[in-house]
Amino acid sequence: MLVQQKIFAILASILIFVVIINLVKNKKLKEEYSWLWLLTGALIMILVLWYDILLILTHLIGAVLPTTTLFIFAILFLICLALDFAIKISKLTDQVKNLTQKVSIMEVDRLNDIKNPSTDFS
């Protein structure tokens, strides 16, 4: 691996760390969403500093160049991240649905109570 490539990768992972920690510090990103990003930064750092690990991985997955391995893992990471978001969105969709239904039903009950204070619809 060229020295320039190493320097660039180390700088990129340090940048990821700094940006993520800052976002968490300023409450723009929740801690529970930050771990996957921090893990990525750590992985880039490990792969660059221990180049042999990258070579072993490249050999294991049958890739020709170590950079290909890095790209493959970057794409896999993005897929994991997108899937993680899709799971969270599905959960949020259900929560919004249930909350909206509950509020709508409570609202009609409240209006009926105001209109007919003596009537018990239940």
Binding site: K97, Q101, K102, S104, I105, E107, V108, S122
Partner: protein, 233 residues
């Protein structure tokens, strides 16, 4: 005497909702619950003026969610049996007493009004008819039950069924053939009765446009597959 209600999910139906409610009143005296799914017109006001209980969603969330809101309302207010019907005037209210009778006489847990068992003036388009035939065969193949109208939204449900539907597993984007298979797997008894249906006055449909229809088919097959691999409830 069972506590009964009729739930009507609606979205921008100010032109039809008054007629639908007055049509229902001709045939039965039950609580009418209109679920306004975030209409931008005066559907809610008209339904309220006509004497219905109106539940308003603050924004549009789709037909299935509105239906499920109706089930949750019925469950909260201890109704024993409910009829669900469309708010566009497609379903004739004269079949409501018979739908209630079928379920209340314990013949079944769900009674479906089928336009194909009645001498109906309803004429489905080619794609819709093809879809109905395909899902009819799939239901028959999976459950052994001959349901002629798997896309009918004109149904009567007892309390056990609408309680079952308040769960998050209810497929609220397109609750059709997948729901029938889900009910069968949960051990509920389903029966069909003839029910005349009209093409709605503005000829609108949930399933229109080639992309919507393609998505509907894909989603329905996926939903049936997921229902089958899920543990029985």
């Amino acid at each position: 005497m069972n506590k009964r209600c009729i739930i009507i999910p609606v979205y921008n139906e100010e032109r039809n909702i008054a007629a639908v409610i007055s049509d229902i009143r001709k045939y039965c005296d039950v609580d009418i619950v209109v679920i306004d799914d975030g209409s931008s017109d005066s559907t809610s006001e008209i339904a309220h003026r006509e004497g219905a209980f109106v539940i308003r969603h603050p924004f549009n969330m789709g037909y299935g969610v509105a239906l499920q809101t109706g089930y949750k309302y019925a469950l909260k207010h201890h109704y024993d049996v409910l009829v669900q019907m469309d708010g566009d005037g497609q379903h004739s209210a004269k079949f409501i007493p018979e739908l209630f009778r079928e379920v209340e006489s314990s013949n079944c847990d769900v009674a479906i009004g089928s336009r194909f068992l009645a001498d109906s003036q309803y004429r489905a388009g080619f794609l819709k008819l093809a879809g109905i035939k395909i899902f009819r065969h799939i239901i028959w193949w999976i459950t052994g039950e001959k349901i002629t109208d798997p896309t009918s939204g004109y149904q009567c449900l007892n309390r056990k069924v609408f309680e079952f539907f308040t769960d998050d597993h209810f497929p609220y984007d397109y609750p059709d053939a997948n729901v029938i298979i889900m009910l069968h797997r949960a051990g509920f008894k389903i029966k069909e009765i003839p029910a005349d249906m009209m093409l709605n006055p503005e000829e609108r449909s949930m399933h229109r446009g080639i992309f919507t229809i393609s998505y509907y088919f894909f989603k329905m097959f996926l939903s049936i597959f997921i229902t089958l691999i899920r543990k029985k409830q």
